[in-house]
């Protein structure tokens, strides 16, 4: 049995007096596609922010591939192989699409803080950026400033930026939110393709996306994980229906 990709042990998070995450224990297996679902305000995004180091935990322990990452800063966690996207599109709006992708590649290609290489001359870097552009089908939009892209394109670009660093654990926060049916379908097939042989953790509201993509699903309600199971079992779980689906219909 290999080490879990991500392991949370007794994780709490409070903001002032309000406890947002309440004793979460979670193991995400290497290579699985894992979805976190739950009603609005359940703490799904907060959970992501804890795992990715955006917030420090109040108490508890987080491990990435067997190594403790509790309260490391975001860039340190990223360098250990975890990358994430955001609920609200988070890219470099003034840069071109190509620049966005290339910047996201720089660290793992090994150029780091270099001020003695010219980006334009780095053949391997530019080839990789081209490949990735091709993968997210944005080659023709390469010169457009990212801030001027259509919404669905921005989301696709963000996925590109997220996977560029070749992290093996990918966190996607509502990757299809606000998309039309056909856009969602395209996004799902993109996600499926780019997370091939990687570990994916996603927060998603669209149940068809969740049941389509996820190997396992965790249900988060009021900061607690009430169950983790396969999609079929989740669908038939009465507690989930009460807590989650019931609430939605109310």
């Amino acid at each position: 049995m290999s080490l879990p990709a991500v392991k949370l042990t007794d994780v709490y998070k409070s903001f002032g007096k309000s406890r947002i995450i309440n004793r979460v224990n979670l193991e995400i297996n290497t290579g699985e596609r894992h979805a976190v679902i739950g009603p609005n305000g359940a703490g799904k995004s907060t959970l992501f922010n804890l795992i990715s180091g955006f917030y420090p935990v109040s108490s508890g322990r987080i491990e990435l591939k067997g190594r403790e990452i509790t309260n490391l800063s975001s860039h340190q966690i990223n360098r250990r192989g975890l990358s994430r996207s955001f609920q609200v599109t988070n890219i470099f709006p003034k840069m071109s699409v190509f620049e966005n992708i290339r910047c996201a590649l720089l660290w793992t290609t090994g150029y780091r803080y270099s001020f003695w290489h010219l980006c334009g001359r780095l053949k391997r870097l530019n080839e990789k950026a081209e490949e990735l552009l091709e993968k997210i089908s944005m080659t023709e939009r390469r010169h457009v400033p990212a801030g001027l892209l259509a919404y669905a394109e921005q989301r696709a670009l963000e996925i590109g930026v997220t996977i560029a660093g070749d992290a093996d654990v990918i966190l996607l926060d509502e990757p299809t939110a606000g998309m039309s049916r056909s856009e969602t379908e395209r996004a799902v097939s993109l996600i499926r393709e780019v997370t091939e042989s990687k570990t994916l953790i996603m927060v998603e509201h669209d149940m068809s996306v969740v049941f389509d993509l996820a190997d396992r699903i965790s249900v988060l309600v009021y900061g607690e994980i009430i169950t983790t199971d396969s999609p079929d079992n989740i669908r038939n779980n009465t507690r989930v229906q009460e807590a989650y689906l019931g609430k939605e219909s109310a």
Binding site: S52, F54, S73, S74, H75, N78, R79, S83, R84, N90, I91, F92, P93, K94, M95, E99, R102, C103, A104, L106, W107, T108, Y111, R112, Y113, S114, F115, W116, H117, L118, C119, G120, V161, T162, A164, G165
Partner: protein, 424 residues
């Protein structure tokens, strides 16, 4: 053969601007022969390096510093001390390379202050930069052996041997030394924008959060960028030391810090060449306007405020706004409306000048009752008539300008419409 021609053309189209700039720099002193204008050219060269280095912070990394002259001044002091050490025969460094002493000294200080001040951008950074400026200004009084107290530290560049064998006595020789360093610095600072660090400085400026999720520590990106900016400011300071052979505590103070901010901003922070324009214009204004009127600081202040309000992207921004129009060959549609705006703008300008000069004469001149002269006309500032003309000019100019601006907007609207049609 044909292939070679193509390559030649490619070289020219890619590097033509640089080659042209180099030629201009070389031939400029042949057109400006007076001592005053040549020393102005030298000062402009120094100001260009300083302003571009400032833009590495403000424009490229989004760091608004109020204390950038710390590195300019310290670079000057490092250089003048090394110059004196060389004069005393302790070490041997050729004069041409002395500005590097300023650069390397500044980069070390820059790493320390950069680390201290760049954890966050925005207001915290701006305030810390103000504190650092205050700190160094205060130290300049506390450590007279380094800063030279009131009279500063002076040196004699003629006592230092030169690698090229040139005797750096006349201003023209120093001009070429400054031109060389300025050109080299411009090229290097431009290339820096193309490096991973340069790109990441932009990334951190726009979205530090995202930058940390692609593996970068925004604090360290800013620190390195800050230290490199300090390096070039130090080079500028070093050239200052070699040029004037004296460095005083004023060079680390708030006046040059504010000055470089305004130069850079007026030139335009959004384009690499913006600060160059700003440095040329502002240095020219400072030197020539100061000869023309005592009230020159008021004009400078008005210009700065006007730019911030109406043209926040600076001169470079205004120029680049016209690039697509130029490419679409539609400039001829804008020029008539611009030409119509020139006349009312001139009237308004004249009125403003009269207002400032008369007020200045009344309140600050030695003898306000003496007749003053403006544009070759003598009159008494106390009489009502010139005031009447002033108010008349300002009102008429303002009114006409409003109408002219409407025209300009109209023709811009037309041009945008045509360009949109053509692109679709």
């Amino acid at each position: 053969m044909k292939k070679k021609d193509k390559k030649g053309f490619f070289m020219w189209s890619k590097h033509g601007l640089w080659i042209a700039a180099m030629l201009i720099v070389i031939i400029l002193p042949f057109f400006f022969r007076s001592g005053f204008s040549r020393s102005m050219l030298s000062q402009i060269g120094i100001a260009i390096i300083f302003a571009l280095s400032y833009n590495m912070l403000l424009g490229q990394a989004g760091l608004l510093s109020f204390g950038h002259a710390v590195f300019y001044g310290l670079g000057g002091f490092f250089t003048i001390h090394i110059l004196n050490t060389v004069s005393n025969g302790v070490i041997t460094i050729p004069l041409e390379l002395l500005p590097l002493a300023g650069g390397f000294g500044a980069v070390i200080v820059g790493l320390v202050f950069g680390w201290l001040s760049t954890e966050r951008a925005g207001t915290p950074f701006a305030l810390i930069s103000l504190g650092i400026g205050e700190l160094i200004a205060a130290s300049s009084l506390m450590f007279p052996s380094f800063f030279g107290g009131e009279q500063g530290i002076s040196g004699d560049r003629m006592t230092v041997f030169a690698l090229t064998g040139i005797r750096f006595g006349k201003q023209i020789t120093i001009y070429y030394l400054i031109a060389f360093w300025a050109f080299l610095s411009i090229v290097l600072m431009y290339l820096l924008t193309q490096t991973p660090l340069g790109r990441l400085a932009n990334a951190v400026r726009d979205n530090p959060e995202r930058a940390s999720f692609i593996g970068y520590n925004p604090h360290w990106v800013r620190t390195l960028q800050y230290a490199l900016a300090a390096f070039f400011a130090g080079i500028a300071g070093g050239l200052f030391a070699v040029n004037y052979e004296i460095v005083t505590a004023e060079t680390v103070g708030f006046i040059p810090s504010g000055n470089v901010l305004m130069m850079t901003y007026i030139g335009g922070v959004g384009h690499f060449f913006g600060p160059i324009l700003g440095a040329v214009l502002v240095t020219f204004m400072q030197l020539s306007l100061a000869n023309m009127t005592h009230a020159w600081l008021i004009y400078f202040g008005l210009l700065f405020i006007g730019m911030v309000i109406w043209a926040p992207s600076g001169i470079a921004g205004i120029i680049m706004l016209h690039e697509p129009v130029w490419k679409a060959k539609l400039m001829k549609r804008l020029i008539p409306s611009y030409a119509l705006a020139v006349f009312p703008a001139l009237i308004l300008f004249l009125g403003t000048v009269m207002f400032i000069e008369i007020s200045y004469h009344l309140s600050l001149s030695v003898d306000p009752t003496a007749p003053m002269h403006l544009f070759g006309i003598h009159f008494r500032a106390q009489s009502l008539f010139p005031w009447g003309i002033t108010v008349f000019l300002i009102l008429i100019g303002f009114g006409l300008l409003q109408r002219a601006i409407k025209r300009v907007r109209q023709s811009w609207g037309e041009v945008n419409l045509i360009m949109k049609k053509e692109s679709s």
